[in-house]
Amino acid sequence: MIAELGQLCLCTAFMLACLQASTLLLHRLWRPHALLAWARPMAVCYAMLLTGAFAALLVSYAQSDFSVMNVLLNSHRDKPLLYKIVGTWGNHEGSMLLWAWIIGAYGFALAFLRTSERALTHRALAVMGGLNAGLLAFILLTSNPFLRVWPMPAEGEDLNPLLQDIGLAFHPPTLYVGYVGFAVVFCFAIAGLMERRIDRNWARTVHPYIMLPWSALTLGIGAGSWWAYRELGWGGWWFWDPVENVSLLPWLTGTALLHANMVLARRGQLAGWVVLLAILTFSMALIGTFIVRSGLITSVHAFASDPARGVFILGYIALTTGGALALYAFRPLAQQPSSPPALASRTGLILLGNMLLVASAATVLLAILYPVFSQLLGAPEVSVGAPYFNRTFLPMSAPLLVLAALAPLLPWDRFSVAQLRARLRLLAPSLGAAALVTLAVADAQWALMLVGAAFSAWLFWGTAAALQRAMRARASQHGWAWRRQLAGIVAHAALALFAAGIAATSLLKETYEAPLIAGQDLQLGAFTLQLVKATRTTEANYEVRRATFRLREGNRTLTELTPELRYYPVRRMQTTEAALHSTPWRDLYLAIGDAPGSPEGDAPRLGVRLYVTPGQQWLWIAFILAAISGAVVTLAAFAQRLTERHT
């Protein structure tokens, strides 16, 4: 019954979305004035219907209703309630419904948070109706989560054990708030092109809808990395897996977009470029969806593949991106294109950074698609791994750190060579600091370390200088403007911390592996591992082997760690749960796993892996700082709008 209600909600929402989109067409044909405004109540109804549909699926999961195919394939009675609920989006159909619900929530927000740009917002909502209609058609035709099974099986097939982690509660929702939010920006871009009006007001209206998804996407990527770090048991946090790369694409173009939009809001420049980036960013999010859901590539994330879905999404991309680009090409913005910015200006540096970001995104996108093309052309199968990205992505993105330190220190319109020289002199001590860091950790890879430390120190120094200037100018700014400026500085500091973290984790990481021998302490470099106790217990839906170790460094006992090996009988799958000892300076990461059997041909023995990773916590802090600063800018934009309305 509940599933049928959900289905009914979806069908009604589909028809409503079609109507919502048609207001655009009817308005174009007859121009009745009030018609476009109808998009607003429709968006509200759409949000409610989708909430109903999503709630129906949640309830089906919570009640373990195995007569619903989606629940049957992805749940189990013995699973803890938390994973029953978050398991709703741990599969293709459920996650698409979450996607549709989030876009509904954005529509709801658009309908209620009124702006001075009322006509523009209504038009954007109508465009959103079109996007929603396509999305719901996709869900209803190829990925219906409410299909029934008859007769009802007694037990479900359980959720993939790798997904049974608290990461599932955070990672997909935040990631989708990011992906989907760029759909809102896309709608505004289309609406602006239709009205031939992409100007400073447009940029101000859209800015929170760029910052919020950017912030969420940052958090989502961070949550995914954190999850992979803890759950996969290999001590790494980024594997250049195609699906990880896919989430990086909209982040890169989105970062370019938010900076370009700042220029547009402040200086009225780069209007055409901003629109292009808005279209590009949403297309990247769609291409990501296509790659993940079509089974085009093998990856840890690959969902059950179905060619029909791939074809549908490809058609959707062709229609939205193609349509938007056609509109962009054949409907030039009415205003005379403003003169391009001077290279020697903050605007110029931002545009330069934009180009680097887009070029970096291009190196990643081509690497994702290369194996596919190579296979289509009948060449031998290839995979593109970490070495490729270290050689292409890092050199393309490293200059960004230089720009990120310089740009905030220079004036918006023009700067002279003397000004540039003064800033460079200001930043010079950072290079000395980098040399000191390198000497302190003198290591075989010191040259690379020097480069990493130099970039990071440079940016830290730059943000410190920017902070100092902002403090000095503080008196002239009121509350939210000040907070927004501070948020920008914090975001750049987060980038510096991130760069330092990457340099430290990738260059200074130590790895130890050894088989476990009964009654004997393990000597791993400077560390000694003593097995305190080993247990084997049965939990609700898995069996678990735990081993408690006392970890000593030299003569000092650091901590006790208890890594686990879990075996999920329903899926016949084993997962590792690493044990962590984190300090601000380094992570000690201990995992147990199967070591090869002994020469006598015994059953496989247990082995341990110990990773000592300096700077691991810096990465997580950087993700969180960046996300917080994005959220502050979002709030600042909404708050300013409120005060403007009251005055």
Binding site: L73, N160, T298, P387, P604
Partner: protein, 156 residues
């Protein structure tokens, strides 16, 4: 500077950045790719092999009864696509699902006809085989649809 000149500066900038991106990409595509071979391809088409020192991936099944371990912990096994076989050796810890008769993709270099694997990729559950391995078995004509797992929905 006139707008025309400024525009020219930006065109040059973007061309330079695109050229740089294309250059690093082409260079890396030439020598940083990891090629995948099935045992049959490796044995029968030596002309497709890249130079010996490069890292490659070999995929197939772990031959039943082929896994043995030396006293020093080095493990030996055979990768087969049921037409041809390649011996492989590996030191270190295994992924959770390495087992005889199961699909495996091993990455390393081939020295004297033996794959010296540096990593074993088998992050998948028991029903699922890496697509490369399925393709390899299909190509050697030994693929059977034994117990396809329940994945797609029949009509309600």
């Amino acid at each position: 500077m006139k707008p025309k000149h400024r525009r020219l500066v930006w065109v040059l900038c973007s061309v330079a950045i695109m050229a740089a991106a294309a250059a690093v990409m082409l260079l890396s595509f030439r020598d940083q790719l990891i090629f995948f071979y099935t045992p049959t391809q490796w044995t029968e088409q030596p002309e497709t092999r890249k130079s010996h020192a490069t890292t490659l991936r070999l995929g197939g099944l772990v031959k039943e009864g082929s896994v043995r371990t030396d006293a020093d912990g080095t493990m030996h096994f055979i990768i087969t696509d049921l037409s041809h076989e390649i011996p492989a050796r590996y030191r270190g810890m295994l992924p959770a699902l390495f087992r005889e008769g199961q699909g495996v993709v091993a990455q390393g270099t081939v020295v004297d006809g033996t794959l010296h694997a540096r990593s074993i990729l088998a992050k998948h559950d028991e029903n699922y085989m890496p697509r490369e391995v399925v393709d390899a078995l299909k190509r050697s004509g030994r693929w059977q649809h034994a117990n396809p797992p329940l994945t797609e929905s029949p009509a309600p």
